[in-house]
């Protein structure tokens, strides 16, 4: 890999790009963690939000409200800098960043999914009930499969927001693509000026996000057709 990069871009830029690419893996891990963690948590919130029990619905509503109203940057500060100082504990950057993004993702995803569930006509619920399905069976076999198709394009679209969101984690010293880009840009080396490094960093983010964007568009089109 290093050799390939060196032969393509020369030793200086080959090295730089190699560093940035290896930092990119941490961006990817953080995105995946946020997405899986946030997805699972978001799913639970969605179920709470439509459950017949009022206190559960209130809890979910309050949670979603809270984490949709706090800027991601603020969450990162709170978890990565606030809590460690306040409780005198050591919170590793990856844990703080992962938690902050998970909270952020779960609140947004559950709103998207709830919206999709609510867009399924009442008649579908009624038809499911009328043939003797229980609430859970109805949700699982009739409503959720239809909602899933509606929600998939925006879910994939939101993955892009998550990836871009991870770039803020540099602020609590998480070693991702953004942080390495900043480090290199600050290195004062000739040829590593910000106006050279940041476009490369941006290009790497683009390469991560663009396929998802295409995929989301494709899913959307497919949904219109069926």
């Amino acid at each position: 890999m290093t050799e390939l990069l060196n032969s393509l871009f020369g030793p200086f830029y080959g090295n730089m790009i190699g560093l940035l690419l290896s930092a990119t893996q941490w961006t990817i891990y953080l995105s995946l963690a946020a997405f899986i963690g946030g997805g699972l948590l978001g799913l639970m919130l969605t179920v709470l939000k439509i459950s017949p029990l009022k206190p559960l619905r209130w809890f979910a509503t309050a949670y979603i409200w809270l984490f949709q109203s706090i800027p991601l940057l603020m969450l990162l500060f709170l978890l990565g800098l606030g809590i460690p100082v306040f409780f005198q504990i050591d919170v590793p950057a990856w844990l703080a960043a992962g938690t902050a993004l998970t909270l952020f993702t779960s609140a947004y995803m559950s709103e998207v999914w709830r919206g999709a569930l609510e867009s399924i006509p009442q008649g579908q619920w009624e038809a499911g009930k009328a043939v003797g399905l229980t609430f859970i069976q109805n949700l699982w076999w009739i409503i959720a499969p239809q909602a899933l198709r509606i929600a998939t394009p925006s879910t994939v679209g939101f993955m892009i927001q998550v990836i871009k969101g991870t770039s803020m984690a540099y602020i609590i010293d998480y070693n991702d693509l953004m942080r390495w880009g900043k480090k290199i840009a600050n290195s004062q080396l000739d040829g590593a000026e910000p106006f050279i490094v940041f476009p490369i960093v941006a290009l790497i983010y683009f390469c991560l996000c663009f396929p998802l964007s295409l995929w989301s568009k494709h899913l959307e089109k497919k949904m219109v057709l069926t």
């Binding site: 009624e126 009328a130 043939v131 003797g132 229980t134 239809q146």
Partner: protein, 234 residues
């Protein structure tokens, strides 16, 4: 039995008993509570006062297992409400597999049997949106029959259909009536009422104001509201 939506009383002291095998047509002006009444019978709506007993199951507000009664009572809606993500045959199979725990093979066989009965077995692999309204409504009837219900409820099954498709659905319902099914149909198809109904019930403002056999109902309505209503639709 009585029912309220907040302060508004939709059903007022409804007193109705239906014998096994009886075919009842319910009609009346819009907003008179016809849909609400039959939706109370499978607990899609709750009543607040009085009692409802369906096949010896007594329905009560907030009851634990409404599924139990719903498995014995089939319902056909005005807007078909087929499951769009499932094929015609799957529409008929899924409720059997989940609510009655039938095996896939059983469910398929019974599903096909009822699709044949409503005369669309050849559409079984298509999706609902590929079918005409009349065909969709017949599938909805087949889906309900697959549960082998003791009672069938129909809520204006033909009023969302283009006129040329009404008769295919009515023919299916007539055939069902002749097979001895207990049926309660909200409909304004008076030809159907004449042909199959044992009793025609006329509702107005949440009350049953008239209930008689079709002959008497059409030729000699008692209540002025019934006369007015029949004058409008006949």
């Amino acid at each position: 039995m009585s029912k309220w939506y907040d302060d508004f009383q939709v059903l007022k002291d409804i007193d109705l008993s239906v014998a096994f095998g009886e075919r009842i047509v319910i009609c009346g002006p819009s907003g008179s509570g016809k849909s609400t009444l039959i939706r109370c019978l499978n607990h899609l709506e709750e009543h607040q006062k009085g009692s409802i007993t369906v096949n010896d199951i007594s329905l009560s507000p907030g009851m634990k297992n409404p599924e139990k009664v719903r498995r014995e009572v089939g319902m056909v809606f005005q807007s078909f409400n087929l499951f769009p993500h499932l094929t015609i045959l799957e529409n008929c199979m899924l409720p059997q597999q989940r609510a009655l725990k039938r095996t896939k093979a059983e469910a398929r066989e019974i599903g096909m049997r009822f699709l044949e009965r409503v005369k669309i077995p050849e559409q079984s692999d298509k999706y609902p949106r590929q079918l005409s309204g009349g065909q969709q409504q017949r599938v909805a009837i087949a889906r309900a029959l697959c549960m082998e219900p003791k009672i069938m409820l129909f809520d204006e099954p033909t009023s969302a259909l283009d006129p040329e498709m009404v008769s295919e659905v009515l023919d299916t319902m007539i055939e069902l009536a002749e097979s001895g099914m207990t049926m309660l149909c909200v409909t304004h198809e008076m030809g159907f009422a004449r042909k199959v109904a044992d009793r025609v019930i006329f509702m107005d403002a949440g009350k049953i104001v008239e209930s008689s056999d079709p002959e008497a109902f059409f030729s000699n309505p008692q209540h002025p509201r019934t006369k007015e209503f029949l004058g409008q639709i006949l």
